[in-house]
């Protein structure tokens, strides 16, 4: 068995404190992650989406809240299109020429799936 000598309590204490600190760090990080995902899902369910993901809903319209009637979102999509292409150009100038859409895994996140559907007709560049 493990003989830790006369100062065993110090060694155990040292390893113990480290284990507790690391465990706390891991748990807090994971809990935070889950909490944010939960909040995002909640907001998603209420129909509030990020601008980039909103546009496919107007074309496919599975479940929409009253706020997402065609005219206002129509305007928004026009604006978001120009915004998208502009920001797409500024943020992704270097990378998109070499590593572009084919490498992305659309299944990874709901939003990317929604976006790749909408991206093809308008722009081929990945967005933030």
């Amino acid at each position: 068995m493990l003989d830790l000598g006369p100062h065993a309590s110090f060694i155990v204490a040292a390893y113990g404190v480290t284990a507790i600190a690391v465990a706390a760090l891991v748990l807090i990080t994971l809990a935070d992650d889950r909490s944010q995902r939960r909040k995002l899902a909640e907001l998603e369910r209420q129909g509030i989406r990020r601008r980039s993901a909103r546009s496919p809903k107007t074309t496919t319209t599975p479940k929409t809240t009253p706020a997402m009637t065609a005219p206002p979102t129509g305007v928004e999509t026009a604006e978001t299109t120009t915004a998208k292409t502009k920001t797409a150009k500024t943020t992704t100038t270097k990378i998109t020429t070499t590593k572009s859409v084919p490498k992305r895994k659309p299944a990874a996140k709901r939003k990317t799936a929604a976006r790749t559907k909408s991206a093809t007709p308008r722009t081929r560049k990945p967005r933030s």
Binding site: V17, A21, T29, D33, Q36, K39, R50, K94
Partner: protein
């Protein structure tokens, strides 16, 4: 780095990397613990307590590594305006602070059997303590400023000011220490560490580094999501006020 500037791209990268990194971390830490506790021989001078060194020294290295990450991220925020740099800096601070705390506590527990006191103001431990204070200052500053943009830039300036000061502080603490001639001159593991002790040390250090990177990526993901939630909640409030109007 530029390729990772896109948060969504970054998040998909994180999702892919995390499982592998988790496995790597567990393997390294498991192996390191086994080597540290069962394989490494007791030191002729310190006996079994040398096993604390296998945590204390890697934790100290990671504490400094963490601050380096923050300093580089600070440069990223201020000079290159990389979009994810401030996320990297904000999330690295608590992790680095925890490692610093672990280094201090294990150093103290290592010291008691060796020197007879829980704390001694030698150069190494004192520098660790000041590093902890610098971390705490950064965390406090992040917490005090609500707007993430200003918080990121302000914390970046503080991080760089601290980074520039660290060598000065280290030098002055060393000078101060030799001036006051502490009762026992402490060298971690001795000036020459035997090879049989080096392997567990490096494996533990590698394991801690993998753990740091894993926690850092997870925390960055959570932070990116938090900012999206915040933006969406603002939209929610806007919608609600418009609907009422």
């Amino acid at each position: 780095m530029i390729g990772l500037a896109n948060p969504t791209r970054f998040l998909s990268l994180v999702d892919r990397v995390v499982p592998w990194l988790t496995a790597l971390t567990m393997i390294l830490l498991g192996l390191g613990l086994y080597l540290a506790l069962f394989v490494a021989p007791p030191d002729y001078q310190q006996g079994e307590t040398v096993r604390i060194m296998f945590i204390h020294v890697p934790a100290a290295w990671l504490a400094m590594f963490g601050y380096t990450v923050i300093a580089v991220a600070a440069l990223g925020t201020l000079i290159w305006r990389h979009p994810l740099a401030d996320v990297a800096a904000k999330t690295a601070a608590p992790i680095g602070a925890t490692f610093t705390f672990v280094a201090l506590v294990t150093g103290s527990l290592w010291g008691k059997p060796m020197w007879g006191t829980y704390w001694v103001w030698d150069a190494r431990l004192t520098s660790m303590l000041i590093l902890l204070l610098l971390y705490l200052g950064l965390i406090a500053l992040w917490q005090s400023i609500e707007e993430p943009g200003r918080a990121g830039r302000t914390a970046a300036i503080l991080a760089l000011v601290g980074a520039i000061n660290i060598p000065i502080i280290k030098f002055s603490v060393d000078w101060w220490n030799t001036l006051h001639q502490p009762a026992s001159v402490f060298r971690a593991g001795g000036s020459t560490i035997d090879a049989s002790l080096l392997t567990p040390l490096f494996v533990m250090a590698a394991g801690f580094t993998a753990l740091f990177m894993l926690l850092h990526l997870l925390a960055m993901r959570a932070e990116i999501l938090r900012r999206r939630v915040r933006a969406l909640q603002q939209t929610q409030v806007e919608r609600a006020t418009l609907a009422e109007a």
